[in-house]
């Protein structure tokens, strides 16, 4: 394995040439740590790392760093999500120091869902920096051992620098408009120092393949590990709801038809998800799969197993 940037298991999985698997673990809307333990129990052994969301859809939940620490205790490697919605560069850098000191090795930088969609729509957003600038800050904290202001990360003048070693992730939405600009945005994330990206959940395989083509044309797939996002559909109703309410998300009619005709839509949804993964695995330039089973973590092992991705490599 070539020189690793961090001690992240996810990095090792990628660098040893394996097809990586990550999933998502949404923290509870309370102090109920048992929920994290339960979800971690489903995922342990079936994923290389797990995304801990940061107040996703702008709904107040347990902090991603706290939930990440609980996940570590349960034997999972967390990928802490940090959005730019709620914290400025002071708070974010402070949290990065804290997360790193607690043993967190992966951070995924996001703009963050607008507060309008959450349960505190009257709040003030921050957006001091954007996700690309956040990636830049994380990579400078790691590689140059400096804060955004250029100061060295050390406790006193004569102390040695003590900087976070973070494997840096970003997100990409292959279906967001303007389509032509999406590869540019990914290139900016790469230039800023992102090591891996996870995509928005994919249903329109044709459009995704076209996006990957654009990515390969620019040679971007050789500069960053790309993980394709999938979300198993539970029913035709859920599929229609997602199609109609999530900006930029398209779900082809044939999937919706299959779900509405199926005797057991749940099994059909899982089968579709597995088929997608098998198809995605064949696409040149993809390095892994990210399974976003929203409040359905217990189904992840079944999907990973059926897609031939179990057991996960020991690296």
């Amino acid at each position: 394995m070539k020189n690793l940037k961090t001690g992240s298991n996810l990095e090792k999985v990628f660098e040893s040439g394996n097809f990586a698997v990550t999933a998502e673990l949404g923290p509870p809307k309370s102090i109920d740590a048992e929920i994290i333990r339960k979800k971690a129990g489903y995922l342990r052994g079936y994923v290389d790392a797990v995304n801990i969301t940061d107040n996703q859809t702008a709904i107040v939940r347990m902090s991603s760093i706290a939930a990440g620490l609980l996940a570590i205790k349960e034997g999972l490697e967390p990928i802490i999500q940090i959005t730019c919605r709620d914290r400025n560069r002071i708070a974010i850098q402070s949290d990065v120091l804290g997360a790193s000191a607690l043993g967190i090795k992966n951070i995924l930088a996001l703009s963050g869902d607008h507060q309008k969609f959450g349960n505190h729509p009257g709040t003030k957003n921050v957006f001091d920096i954007d996700s690309i600038q956040l990636i830049g800050i994380l990579s400078e904290m790691r590689d140059k051992k400096i804060f955004q202001n250029g100061e060295e990360i050390k406790n006193s003048k004569n102390a040695p620098p003590a900087a976070p070693e973070i494997y840096i992730g970003g997100a990409a939405n292959p279906f967001g408009d303007p389509l032509e600009f999406r590869p540019v945005r990914l290139a900016k994330k790469i230039n800023a120092g992102a090591d891996f990206i996870q995509t928005q959940c994919i249903y329109d395989m044709e459009r995704f393949s076209l996006w990957m083509e654009k990515i390969r044309e620019r040679g971007l797939h050789t500069k960053i590990k790309i993980m394709a996002g999938v979300t198993p559909l539970k029913s035709a109703g859920m599929a229609r709801y997602m199609r109609d309410s999530v900006a930029g998300l398209t779900i082809p009619d044939y999937y919706i038809e299959r779900l509405s005709k199926a005797e057991d839509p749940v099994s059909e949804g899982l089968a579709i998800c597995v088929e997608q993964i098998l198809e995605l695995k064949k696409i040149e330039g993809l390095s892994g799969i990210h399974i976003m089973a929203i409040e359905w973590e217990r189904k992840v092992p079944e999907i990973v197993d059926a897609a031939g991705l179990y057991p996960r490599p020991e690296v």
């Binding site: 730019c84 919605r85 560069r89 703009s111 963050g112 869902d113 607008h114 309008k116 957003n125 957006f127 001091d128 920096i129 954007d130 996700s131 690309i132 600038q133 830049g136 800050i137 955004q148 997100a171 939405n173 967001g176 408009d177 303007p178 032509e180 600009f181 540019v184 945005r185 290139a187 900016k188 230039n191 800023a192 928005q200 900006a247 930029g248």
Partner: protein, 223 residues
């Protein structure tokens, strides 16, 4: 211009309970253009107050006036007598005018009639939208004359988030265009798309509101 909309009548009326001599004072600049606080609106609000007073059996003297600007000291001269005579003034200016009036006439009770909204332009009769966030360090050169700070819901400096769909912003898909779609289209039109490949570093917000209340001092024009 600074845009504003009138507060609900009930809220305005609530404030003036017990006042005997009221002045409704309009502003002849921005809020006249955006049809919120000019001479015409002063007339309508004053009539509404008189009508409500009649219905409630209240006797209140309601005087009307409009000055050129409520954000420039010199224009208050023409209204000084009216303001002095009133127990309270409802200012139909933007938040700047309301405050300046209160500062100039110490001891005078001043109420706002408007909610000040943003620096905007008239899209069409009856429709105004935001253009500038007053960040204090104009970045329009890099974005083809369209401001990501003001026109992107998240003030993103390096491109659109995933919520840009068919030209619209997911925060308000019915009426608000995605600022980044506008920037992209404009740069394409100008043949300058390559300019958008540049990564913009974190913004220094201290030139705007985050540097504390703004102040401009021009020694060259001071008297």
């Amino acid at each position: 211009m600074i845009t504003a909309v009138q507060k609900p009548f009930e809220e305005i009326y609530q404030n003036i309970k017990g006042i005997e001599k009221l002045l409704v004072l309009g502003c002849g600049s921005c809020v006249t253009v955006c049809m919120a606080g000019g001479e015409k609106e002063v007339e309508i609000l004053s009539s509404s107050i008189r009508l409500a007073n009649r219905q409630n059996g209240l006797s209140m003297e309601v005087a009307e006036g409009t000055i050129e600007r409520q954000c420039d000291r010199e224009f208050f001269d023409s209204a000084k007598k009216m303001i002095d005579e009133a127990d309270a003034v409802i200012s139909m200016a933007c938040g700047v005018g309301v405050q300046f009036l209160a500062e100039e006439f110490k001891g005078k009770v001043v109420f706002p009639a408007l909610n000040t909204k943003f620096y905007g332009a008239t899209d069409e009769q009856g429709v105004w939208s935001e253009r500038c966030a007053g960040c204090g360090d104009c970045k329009l050169t890099d974005f083809g004359g369209i401001c990501p700070v003001a026109r992107c819901s998240k003030s993103l400096m390096n491109g659109p988030c995933g919520g840009s769909s068919e030209g619209m912003c997911e925060v308000d898909p019915e009426t608000t265009p995605c600022g980044w779609q506008l920037i992209f289209d404009r740069m394409k039109e100008l043949g300058q798309l390559e300019k958008l490949e540049k990564t913009h570093p974190p913004v220094d917000w201290s030139s705007g509101r985050d540097g504390g209340p703004g102040r401009i001092i021009r020694e060259d024009v001071k008297l």
